[in-house]
């Protein structure tokens, strides 16, 4: 049975979107690509909700981050947490040394591209993987068959494309002495808009289009996908509630009709890389 894991964009979504099995949130200074809050706020959320909670501690960790990371892990270990999304390998030795019993989920968004590496990490007690968003549906389904851990795939929302330690917006505004009161930004290129966020961690950029392919989602469910992640970034709580209703009720018979409904609400929907293979050999004279 495929569960719905919801990544809220803000408090409003968290308070009003309940048609889910679990939430995933981040923690200030330790997370990227997820809605981050303080550790106290996370604990309050855990105590109040009847849903499962996953925590993203998925930034690239420098030496200086390790004390905060260790303290956070020790605190989280006292609560019922379903899993920790991580990107930095340091979480493997640290959770082992501290006897943290929360399952680790490998979630380095563009490195989780083959079952061999996933099974490699499985030997180190990594229980699950958040599978890459830039591989095809066929590749994902091959992973579903051959990977021993539990599998998570993002099935709706803007996709993470870029993480940097640099502060790209702040630098640009400073360099050219520009003033703005805006708190949300986009990059514009060739008729497309890419959400860009510059925060304490650095800069992240998201895709211009919204991944949503209900027919593909049905195939993943039939191939034993464990958890489907829905990313709420960029949408109102009302729209997300409609999306959640659809993802909870979709099946082979109604997928096309529901897909049309979503397209009429969200114009920039596409299927990401599910049917689109990336290339990497670009010279004619390649050996």
């Amino acid at each position: 049975m495929c569960q719905i894991l919801f990544s809220p964009a803000d408090w409003e979504q968290l308070h009003s979107c309940h048609n889910v099995d679990a939430y995933i949130v981040g923690i200030d200074l330790l997370s990227v690509n997820f809605f981050a809050m303080t550790l106290d706020e996370v604990i309050t959320l855990i105590n109040k909700t009847d849903k499962d909670i996953y925590i993203a501690l998925n930034k690239n960790m420098s030496n200086n981050d390790l004390p905060l990371l260790e303290g956070t892990l020790k605190t989280l270990n006292k609560y019922q947490i379903k899993g920790i999304f991580y990107a930095d390998v340091s979480l493997i030795p640290i959770t082992k040394r501290l006897h943290i019993n929360i399952p680790l989920i490998w979630a380095n968004e563009h490195l989780t591209t083959n079952y061999g590496t996933m099974n490699y990490w499985h030997k180190f007690k990594v229980k699950g993987t958040f599978i890459s968003n830039d591989i095809t549906l066929i590749e994902i389904m091959d992973i579903l068959k051959k990977y021993k851990g539990f599998k998570i795939v993002q099935v709706f929302g803007y996709l993470p494309m870029y993480v940097s330690k640099r502060h790209a917006i702040k630098n640009y505004l400073t360099y050219f002495n520009l003033q703005t009161k805006s708190h949300q930004f986009k990059l514009f290129k060739e008729d497309k808009y890419y959400p860009i966020i510059d925060n304490d961690i650095g800069t992240i950029i998201l895709s211009s289009n919204v991944l949503c392919d209900l027919m593909g989602f049905c195939k993943l469910k039939q191939n034993d996908l464990d958890i489907a992640l829905i990313n709420g970034y960029g949408f109102s709580a009302d729209i997300i509630n409609k999306v959640l209703t659809i993802f909870n009720s979709v099946n082979d018979n109604n997928a096309e009709k529901l897909q049309s409904q979503l397209i009429s609400t969200i114009s920039n929907i596409d299927s990401g890389f599910w049917y689109r293979k990336t290339i990497y050999k670009v010279k004619k004279n390649e050996k």
């Binding site: 030795p93 490699y120 640099r166 514009f188 800069t203 670009v282």
Partner: protein, 400 residues
């Protein structure tokens, strides 16, 4: 005194491998026929790897092959056979990114394993973990500061490789898929189309453009740690890495020879070592973008941003390469326009820089000419200096 660090240079082909090693690199890293992160470079065949590695070993130097793509399922199934073939070429180590390769390489080969910067390794816990898995050397993330590197070295006894010069990724290595999304070219499998150097328009929350004198870009200046070489030697870093497998012969020769001098000068007499600003000027002249220490000194803010988009300075300093020198006549292959009367510098791995005014030029037929304008034109110049094959001729710059 600490151990003398290895100077590690990039080599896009056999000629550049030879140049890099002759100009003072202790080792080179190259791409093999597959699985490397520069899929649009020429790269080496297995035979060329064999030849390059034999050349290096004669000089007591080393060759590393990049096997540093992030694997997809289909590549996973081909990797074992590929590693066997790589090992048979006699190279010294492979640089991997995907940990799935670790057990495959260990079970089937005796290859030494280096962990690529593509893993973005920034802390001692991760370094220690990979050491325990049998990794011989870690190429640290370019986001590491001096303090980060120092602490990692103090906490874990392992070979560390640090980038000292060259282009930078704007994002964390491995966490940038801009190329995938905007051009369908997979950055983590060698297809990076360098979207970070594209211009964009920054828009506010009402879709109004925020426009400076230049367009928005993610592009950063290049890296140069020339002035920090003593600190890196004192930290006992094993290998100093120069970026750029797609760079020119001249760039490789210049950058390698400058860093060779700095390392040797500091290592031979650290107490009396003096930073040579002339070296900095030479590096600046052969580069096509500004360079700064980046994350190493924690100054990665606005000073690192580069708002010239894809406009890069085309370097015209490199005039030619010496093919031969006999009886006071140097045979030179042209690389940029030069003419009679030019004042030039000729440098090479085995002698000091020679400054010379060109008085006479003969073409291949022995006819006198005033201007050498044809690409790769072969000319002869009388010069009474002991020049050698692979010496390089550049224009003498009288000012900065």
């Amino acid at each position: 005194m600490k151990n003398k660090p290895e100077l590690l240079a990039p080599a896009g082909d056999l000629e550049r491998l030879e140049i890099a090693l002759l100009y003072g690199a202790d080792a080179v890293y190259v791409g093999g026929p597959a699985f490397g992160l520069r899929a649009n470079a020429i790269n080496f065949t297995f035979d060329e790897l064999k030849e390059g590695s034999a050349f290096a070993h004669k000089l007591n130097k080393r060759v590393y092959v990049t096997v540093n793509i992030v694997l997809h399922n289909e590549e996973l199934e081909q990797i074992e056979e590929y590693l066997h073939k790589i090992e048979a070429t006699g190279i010294d180590a492979i640089i991997i990114s995907d940990p799935a390769i670790i057990p495959i390489a260990q079970a089937n080969t005796n290859l030494e394993l280096h962990l690529s910067t593509q893993q973005s390794t920034l802390n001692y816990e991760t370094v220690r973990f990979f050491k325990e898995q049998g990794i011989k050397r870690i190429v640290l993330a370019r986001e590491c500061s001096y303090e980060d590197i120092k602490l990692i070295k103090e906490k874990v006894d392992i070979d560390l490789e640090v980038f000292i010069h060259g282009a930078m990724c704007a994002g964390y290595s491995g966490r940038c898929a801009l190329s995938n999304f905007l051009t369908d070219r997979d950055a983590n499998r060698g297809g990076c189309s360098q979207i970070c150097r594209w211009d964009f328009i920054l828009m506010d929350d009402n879709n109004r453009p925020i426009i400076g004198d230049k367009d928005f870009t993610l592009c950063s200046k290049d890296l140069s740690l020339l002035s920090y070489i003593p600190e890196l030697i004192d930290m006992d870093i094993s290998s100093f890495k120069i970026e750029g497998r797609m760079r020119s012969l001249y760039y490789i020769a210049t950058v390698v020879s400058i860093y060779r001098k700095v390392i040797d000068e500091y290592f031979s007499d650290s107490k009396h070592y003096v930073y040579n600003e002339e070296y900095e000027r030479i590096l600046r002249n052969c580069a096509n973008r500004d360079s700064v220490p980046q994350f190493f000194n924690n100054d990665y803010g606005v000073n690192c941003s580069y708002y010239n988009g894809r406009v890069e300075i085309s370097n015209q300093d490199f005039l030619g390469i010496i093919l031969d020198c006999n009886n006071g006549i140097a045979t030179i292959e042209q690389r940029n326009y030069f003419k009679r009367g030019d004042i030039v510098e000729i440098f090479g791995p085995n002698h000091e820089v020679v400054t010379y005014k060109i008085d006479k030029i003969e073409d291949e037929n022995g006819d006198l000419i005033d201007i050498v304008r044809h690409p790769r034109q072969i000319v002869k110049i009388p010069i009474n200096e002991p020049l050698e094959k692979y010496d390089m001729m550049r224009i003498k710059k009288l000012t900065n």
